[in-house]
């Protein structure tokens, strides 16, 4: 079984997940240029291959099913090689110098559409809405499990971004501790609110709208900005303009608006960067199960936190300097990235361009 381990010097968690290693020789002789073995028998997420995954956790049906075509639009299935498992109690154990937590959690795959070849950029707005509805529904459901402290929703697109399957999909991993990146954000937001009674993300939106130079896209409900200290070229954050702490409570109209700006952004990136590999990460409120003795994360969270989506194209590499320093090196000033995105033609297909 997996376990979460804490490093007493780095103050960093690692998930030791030996079940992910299918065969030792797969790990021992990596062939980075070869197609991933998971795809060797064809794609298990395609229409017609539904029997190859475990039973569905959730299905969003097609609005108008075609006669003989797929009757589903989005499928959520358990990950075949889960990092964490749903069964069991969460044991938190000290081993002298070290700490570990049993690897209880959830690991699911959200298949975006029956079509292997159309990434999010090529989906219709309604199709993207279906994906977001599935994400919101899974968030709501996993919140009920008192063992799980956070659900991280993310998407890896392209081999360079860590995707094992090329079929467009999101993933979610629910963990029995709140990830350190999220803890840091929650802490900053809470402190800012405590001092100023204002949401730090709302402050960011107001400032960036006033300055204008890092605003890539703007709709009536959302804003897409190139953050001041962008870690990667064309890193982009999408934030709802009206304060809301949690995607789980976002309205249908919010999801429709998010689908619009996300699709637009991805099409512009496709045109500019020739269908780049990317990661998308949702930042949202943790599960409402306060850690005993630490109720403070939840006392003002509706006011202090602000959900958002972070996109990082994976054009530059995370190498020795980045790992050793915690800094990133970004050759593209965010002001330039925002201007490129703003001026891009979202309909110019990379293949044709």
């Amino acid at each position: 079984m997996s376990e979460l381990r804490y490093d007493p010097i780095k103050h960093r968690w690692a998930i030791i997940a030996p079940e992910r290693k299918m065969r030792p020789d797969e790990l021992l002789v990596p062939q980075p240029e070869a197609p991933p073995p998971a795809d060797a028998d064809g794609c298990p997420f395609e229409y017609g291959q539904e029997h190859r995954t475990a039973p569905e956790i959730l299905v969003i049906p097609r609005a108008q099913p075609a006669g003989s075509g797929p009757n589903w639009q989005v499928r959520v299935v358990p990950n075949r090689f889960p990092v964490l498992r749903v069964e069991g109690e969460v044991a938190r154990e000290g081993l002298g110098f070290y700490d570990r937590v049993s690897g209880v959690g959830a690991h699911e795959v959200i298949v975006e559409s029956p079509d292997h070849d159309r990434d999010t950029a090529a989906l219709s707005q309604d199709e993207v809405v279906s994906v977001l509805v599935a994400c919101r529904s899974r968030l709501q459901d996993l919140r009920r499990d008192p063992r799980l402290r956070y659900t991280l929703l993310f998407k890896n697109r392209g081999r360079e971004a860590g995707a094992t399957y090329s079929h467009p999909h999101w993933q979610l991993i629910s963990t029995p501790i709140i990830p350190s990146v999220v803890v840091q954000e929650l802490k900053v937001a809470r402190e800012h609110y405590g001092r100023k009674e204002r949401c730090i993300f709302c402050d960011l939106i107001r400032l960036e709208l006033r300055l204008g130079v890092r605003v890539a896209l703007e709709t009536d409900r959302f804003i897409a900005i190139s953050p001041f200290a962008s870690a990667f070229p064309f890193e982009t954050w999408i934030l709802p303009r009206t304060h809301c702490h949690d995607l789980a409570v976002a309205s249908d109209d919010d999801l429709t608006g998010l689908a619009l700006i996300l699709g637009d952004l991805l099409r512009r990136l496709r045109a500019l960067l020739s269908d780049p590999p990317y990661n998308l990460v949702l930042h949202t409120a943790p599960s409402p199960h306060p850690r005993p003795g630490q109720p403070e994360y939840w006392s003002t969270i509706e006011h202090d936190f602000h959900w958002h989506l972070e996109l990082v194209p994976r054009i530059t590499r995370f190498a020795g300097f980045e790992w050793g320093s915690g800094y990133t090196i970004n050759p593209t000033p965010p002001e330039e990235a925002a201007r490129f995105l703003h001026d891009a033609d979202p309909e110019q297909d990379a293949a044709a361009g």
Copy 2:
């Protein structure tokens, strides 16, 4: 000019380095599978190509120069596309919500040998010692510059690990602030020493030697361990067994001992993992120029910090979950990695195996 930018929500620095982008279209149409453009005219670090780099900062001559062969063993040259530049004053500027620091620093390349095709694993112990002597010398020299707070020495090997050139080389980047990963380590070490009057790394070495299960290699001067919360498969830390805070003050005998265990470790990894891409990062004391008002880092550093080398093979990917959570997922338990390394045959060449 480059600048360091601080994110007020993530509390994370990014180096915005537009000079790294040679031409916009190189960034805009990345071709990850193509050979890096830097190598298009052949390798500038090979014997006979010395005129293609800027003048040398340091040369370690060959012990016994061959009649017509190279007369140098190690060359240190400025990076052609430096992330930070040596010229100028360090300006620290607040921009309301945001902070920035001018991109003053050093960025150098340490060419390990005249031979393009022999990585560190294939070098003799004496040749590796020459590389380490060059590293120590550059550390000592850069310590004299009061603008520079830390010098990070690292090596990227292989494209997957971020190497642009395949010719074996280390790099160093000196920065006007101490990197956050280093700050965290210094803080933990100082607190541990403050409470216990013991070095936390010495404690780690004693514990791991007693337990044994995560000790990969052991010599009279050094220990190589697979850390308890290894972030990556076969992550390995090499630590001197006798307490020492800084590679800049390590003795020649220390460097000879380090060359021995490093070469052995890299040959075992080559045999086990088929010449894997990897990053090597030196963790050592910061420059002795305390930040005004913060003398505490330096008050006990000779006692509380312990230099070491961290190696991470890059077999798994840093994807959306890792970026969004700050956790890593590692399929290989460190106890297994240590056993594999311990039992490996360092002389079994990957090519032959």
